[in-house]
């Protein structure tokens, strides 16, 4: 199972992607529980905002797109964890 976070937009307009292979993590069970607890079906469309980031999060069969102001709570935790697992930026 993979989690892929891509961030586009921002005033720089630079697209970056971070990826985690859950099965290869030492705390794979924790990852799986955390991913299962996310509110995948509660995300709604939002108005695009100038120069804010746009996050696309994929974890089959789920895929959500979040505007930067919506990245709070568990979504913030997920993105922080995926980025931390990838190092730079």
């Amino acid at each position: 199972m993979k989690v892929i976070v891509s961030r586009s937009g921002g005033t720089a307009g630079i697209r970056l992607t971070w990826e985690v292979r859950v099965d290869e993590q030492v705390d794979a069970l924790n990852w799986a529980d955390f991913l299962g607890s996310l509110p995948w079906n509660d995300v709604t469309d939002s108005e695009p905002l100038p120069d804010r980031y746009l996050y696309r999060i994929r974890c089959a069969p789920h895929e959500v797109v979040l505007a930067e102001p919506e990245v709070n709570g568990p979504w913030r935790d997920l993105i922080d964890r995926v980025q931390a697992a990838n190092g730079r930026m």
Binding site: T11, A12, E47, L49, P50, R56
Partner: protein, 353 residues
């Protein structure tokens, strides 16, 4: 006479109707504030915000806030209009940058702040922890400090400060939706006026200018000059981590993507280059003629929320015709520039009637 007839008459290139065409052009320019107001009422653009009575037109009223590395806005107010410099360089850069942006819009175009009615200019610096971004949130400009590895502080670039403020002007005028082609136009207008503010502040002509957005923003660990280049979209950086600048410079390279709200920061390279080509074809200071045409287009009521590239190109031609005449050097430069980037200004792009 309805505006669309005035516009058509203004573009007539027949010596028998030269007097009428000139009268139409004069009328279009004279009535521009009225038409702009009507356009504001008929689109989703925001109405002006009321400011204090007795204020001197064109005077700037800046307040800079410090978010203290948090993401709560507005933060703590640390500098207001007319107060001395602080030791915090980001605060001073934001303060100076807002002043230089107001200087271009007011002294060159007669635009009194973001809303056209003297809206106070507020900015917040030190937003977030190592935040690699800057944005306009509908009320203020917000600037991160950068992560120190790839980006330095975002106030370091005057073109970025002016870029963010221009998003505010677009919101209050054309109201271009921030997605797909209208979003790329929204981005391009911010880049165009970001460049013009920088050139105006430095006294640089079109031929002398860098035409870069965000010069100095990358640390020396990044292989790149800036975020974007209007002269040569797609050439601003080429870095192991960031990749290659993905901007197209021609419609043949138009990027079809769902990311970045439909590639608004990517496809803006196409109208960006059209402006650069216009400005350099005309020579001199880019803000004088090319900038004037783009400003007239932005504020003249010709655009609507979902105007596309072809519609925008046609609107720039209409603006050029209204101010300088059909077939003038300015009109010809605009037409040639859109042709060179592959945008058909004669196509049925949508435009406000």
């Amino acid at each position: 006479m309805p505006p669309y007839l005035l516009l058509r008459l203004a573009q007539v290139d027949d010596p028998r109707f030269a007097v009428a065409a000139e009268a139409a052009r004069t009328s279009l320019l004279r009535d521009q504030p009225v038409r702009e107001h009507r356009a504001l009422l008929s689109t989703t653009a925001r109405p002006p915000v009321h400011v204090a009575a007795g204020r001197l037109a064109g005077s700037v009223d800046r307040s800079i806030y410090d978010a203290g590395a948090l993401t709560r806005l507005p933060g703590r107010r640390v500098r207001t209009e007319g107060t001395p410099e602080l030791t915090d360089v980001a605060v001073n850069e934001a303060y100076d940058g807002l002043g230089q942006t107001q200087a271009l819009f007011w002294t060159v175009f007669g635009r009194d702040s973001i809303d056209g009615s003297g809206l106070p200019l507020d900015a917040t610096v030190h937003y977030g922890h190592e935040y690699d971004n800057a944005f306009w949130d509908g009320e203020r400009m917000v600037f991160g400090d950068g992560d120190g590895q790839v980006f330095t502080r975002f106030t370091v670039s005057l073109s970025v400060i002016a870029h963010e403020l221009t998003h505010g002007i677009t919101e209050f005028t054309a109201g271009l939706a921030y997605e797909a082609q209208s979003g790329a136009l929204n981005e391009s207008l911010s880049d165009v006026f970001g460049c013009l503010v920088e050139q105006h502040a430095r006294g640089q002509s079109a031929v002398d200018a860098s035409w870069l957005i965000g010069e100095g923003l990358f640390t020396d660990q990044v292989q790149g000059l800036a975020l974007r280049s209007l002269r040569a979209p797609g050439s601003a950086y080429n870095d192991d981590v960031l990749g290659t600048d993905p901007q197209p410079d021609h419609m043949s390279g138009f990027v079809d993507t769902e990311d970045d709200n439909g590639g608004v920061h990517l496809n803006s390279g196409i109208p960006n280059r059209a402006f650069y080509l216009t400005a350099t074809a005309l020579g001199g200071n880019a803000w004088e003629r090319a900038g004037r045409i783009w400003f007239d287009t932005l504020t003249g009521g010709l655009l609507h929320r979902h105007t596309d590239f072809a519609g925008f190109a046609r609107a720039t031609l209409t603006s050029a015709a209204a101010r300088y005449g059909t077939g003038s050097a300015e009109w010809t430069a605009v037409q040639s520039s859109w042709n060179r980037v592959g945008v058909d200004s004669a196509a049925g792009g949508n435009i406000a009637a």
